[in-house]
Amino acid sequence: MTEAETIQLFKCLSDRSRMRIVKALLIEDMYSERLAERLGLSPATVSFHMKKLEEAGLVASHKEQYYTVYSLMPEVLDSSLRELLGEEAEDIAEQQEREEKYRKKVIDSFFEYGKLKSIPTQRKKERIVLEVIAESFQFERLYTEREVNIIIADFHDDFCTIRRDMIAEKLLARDKSGYWRVKAKNEKAE
């Protein structure tokens, strides 16, 4: 478990309702309606907490007929505090983790359910957004301008600006024959 994951776990558990849910699941696996009844919370509130617990890796869910049944993850639950705190993150890993966190934050703020809400004005942020859009293009395939526009329009109406910026950022390249996706230095072809 990385430092960031450990922090997420502690943050997640620093909430009385979530602690009560974990305590209830220590006794037996349960579905959310039953947990809601037992803890006096609304089913929507329980679902909200369960999502946080799942994201922290403490809980897993599976479907049983109409119900989603939750259970605790023993590998996280049985970790000692010493084990959780003893993880030594290397500098490079930490740096990557920070970058990944920043990238996720940018993606979360600019995209909503796969749609780009607005084109970032800051270049670093726009680069991240354009990289996400570039993932919709295959390597070693030639696209017509119309195809490029259609793919980009799935994300945002201003496909002209985005197409031009993707060329400028060297995520796409073009010549008379059409457009293609460019491999970044650290990127491998699919």
């Binding site: 909430d15 009385r16 919370l41 929507a44 679902s47 369960m50 946080k52």
Partner: protein, 122 residues
């Protein structure tokens, strides 16, 4: 518009906002901060509905005010409904919960407003 209705209406909205605020404080004191945050959303929605009423009563009177207010809060709640549907579609538990809280306040407010208005006018 009789001042009496306005008085009753603001008393109701202020009372509900104060209740939600105090519940949020209780939850926060119990270390249930996320639920406290959801309660603050409730409080804000009561205040939003008060602001909408204040804005409309400056321009409308009588049945026009009644219809205008119900239409306006209906329009606002439609955005929450759309957002809730999107949240459900994408299995976004947090959004579903928050939009559900707002819509729940809307239902309560709408019914109470019709009740107060009806008691005074009908």
């Amino acid at each position: 518009m009789p001042e009496k209705i306005k008085g009753l209406w603001f008393e109701y909205l202020d009372g509900k906002a104060a209740e939600a605020k105090s519940e949020a404080e209780r939850l926060a004191a119990e270390d249930r901060r996320d639920e406290a945050g959801h309660m603050k959303v409730r409080e804000n929605i009561y205040r939003v509905f008060k602001t909408v009423f204040s804005a409309l009563e400056a321009a409308l009177t009588g049945d026009g005010l009644r219809e205008g207010y119900l239409n306006k809060i209906g329009e606002i709640s439609q955005n929450w409904q759309d957002s809730l549907d999107k949240g459900r579609e994408h299995n976004d538990a947090e959004r579903v919960l928050i939009e559900g809280v707002k819509l729940n306040v809307y239902q309560q407010v709408k019914e109470k407003f019709v009740e107060i208005w009806g008691a005074e006018y009908d």
